[in-house]
Amino acid sequence: MPRITYIEFNGTEHTVDGTGGDSVMETAVKNEVPGIDADCGGGCACATCHVYIDEVWLAQMGERSPMEVSMLNLAEGVADNSRLSCQISLNESLDGLVVRMPESQH
């Protein structure tokens, strides 16, 4: 089971066990981790599940799709390590992943 740590903007950490195939967004929602709105429910269509990926994990993330790039344009405070968490599918190689939340989903 891949284990993920979500760090809220205020520094509060939530470490949860995910299920392979679920997205980083779904895992947060299922475990009631605050800070991810996911208004569209995982369709890469609303940009309200924006997270920052810890640098050490970036290389394993793969590329953003063109749609994800378009949607990130709508988000606030986007950085090089910004991703939409509904677009990252969990597998064993992401065990230990650390993601940080923005101040708010916008």
Partner: protein, 411 residues
């Protein structure tokens, strides 16, 4: 009130057209969409008034169309119908990338989190003043005294438009959203009248625009547009188009949700009790109202290539209408979708803001305005009582109220 329209189940499916504005004004559209969601979720009809188009009525199909801007273009307009006198001011909501992205990015800072934090105390002060000026214990129209007043004040601030002339913004917004197809539209105006009025709007904005261009850049919408390389050289018609977009976007939507919140809480009194007992439910109540009301009933797209949607063959050039007002009642995605539930789980999961690159830009501002309004109402009045069924806007686009008689009860 228009004559009662036919029961949708008596109409042959291939003739079923949910676009008649009478349906919405009479609240008879619900059964039309219920039948379409069940029997023909992606439905073709050659409409008498609006011509041939596809109706997309289910949540997931709407999200698919909305988030595939490469397959479904927003040009040249995003509302059903067309102008008979070719009066179509260009605006970025009705543009595709890259032009859309460039123009939208220019105005986004006006509703960024930092700006919203600065606006919050101003909005709260205004809400308090409006509420404190209302008569208690007597009948008045909530639409005029609260919904229109508050949204118009907000618009004047966003544009830094002369405050004493702010009623013009509401007036232009109302004129802009009238259907050009109807010979005499809801305002009793012809399309030529409509064009003339909006040209006056253009004149007024051109004057302000020129003034702002010569001043130090500020955070209001006109100044942002006047100083950005992507928009500083806009033609007068494009300026008008974008002004209309921003006025309508900030006006009708929030205004009608403000009215809807009062109406819905009266229609579902046990929900009003729940909210009074736990004011922390305001946030989810606001999202639920935005879903339940669906302030904008639809958005129009045009297929850029032959494609398929839910098994139907869509041809390049076909008009595709996403009925947001129907998607928000899709029981496959939203449980008990016809009910208004102030503590609904995942209340933000609705289609009212649209999806994809055209998703509502001012959604957080709208939510904030509504939240502050209700925080202040709950501290002042035990009940905003609805006295009669409301009168509604004649439109398949704006799902709105013109008259909602209420009486305030003190705490």
């Amino acid at each position: 009130m228009n004559a009662i329209l036919p029961d949708p189940y008596t109409i042959p499916l291939d003739k079923l057209d949910p676009s008649n504005p009478d349906l919405f004004q009479n609240q008879e559209h619900w059964a039309y969409f219920e039948r379409l969601r069940k029997e023909d979720p992606v439905h073709f009809v050659d409409s008498e008034v609006f011509g041939p188009y596809w109706s997309v009525t289910k949540f997931q199909d709407i999200m698919y169309v909305d988030s595939h801007h490469d397959l479904f273009s927003s040009e040249p307009r995003i509302v059903l119908g067309h102008s008979k006198i070719d009066f179509e001011p260009p605006m970025f909501i009705a543009m595709d990338p890259p032009r859309h992205d460039e123009q939208r990015a220019v105005v986004t800072p006006a509703v960024a989190p930092k700006q919203l934090a600065e606006l919050e105390p101003l909005i709260r002060g205004r809400v308090q003043a409006v509420l404190d000026g209302l008569p208690v214990g007597e009948s008045f129209n909530w639409v005029d005294r609260v919904s229109i007043e508050l949204t118009t004040q907000m618009l004047a601030t966003l544009f830094d438009f002369p405050f004493e002339e702010r009623h013009l913004l509401t007036y232009w917004s109302d004129v802009a959203t009238e259907n050009p197809e109807l010979d005499v539209n809801s305002g009793g105006r012809t399309e030529e009248d409509r064009r003339d009025i909006l040209m006056e709007c253009q004149q007024r904005f051109m004057e302000i625009w020129k003034e702002r261009a010569g001043q130090t850049p500020k955070m209001d919408l006109i100044s942002l547009l006047a100083h950005s390389p992507a928009t500083a050289k806009m033609e007068p018609m494009e300026l008008l188009g974008n002004m209309i977009l921003l006025i309508v976007g900030g006006n009708d939507t929030t205004r009608n949700t403000m009215s809807a919140s009062v109406y819905a809480l009266n229609k579902f009194p046990e929900q009003y009790d729940k909210l009074r007992a736990d004011p922390s439910l305001v946030t989810s109540m606001i999202s639920e109202t935005i879903r339940w009301q669906t302030p904008l009933g639809h958005m129009r797209r045009m297929a850029t290539q032959d494609t398929e949607l839910a098994g139907k063959k869509i041809k390049k050039g076909d008009i595709v209408v996403m009925w947001y007002v129907s998607g928000n009642r899709d029981e496959d995605v939203i449980e008990n979708a016809n009910d208004y539930i102030v503590d609904r789980a995942r209340a933000r999961h609705h289609v009212s803001f649209g999806f994809g690159i055209h998703r509502c830009m001012g959604n957080r501002l709208a939510e904030m305005q509504l939240r502050i309004l209700w925080e202040e109402i709950l501290q002042r009045f035990s009940k905003v009582e609805v006295l009669a069924e409301p009168e509604r806007v004649h439109s398949n686009f704006v799902m709105g109220y013109t008259d909602l008689q209420v009486k305030l009860h003190p705490l």
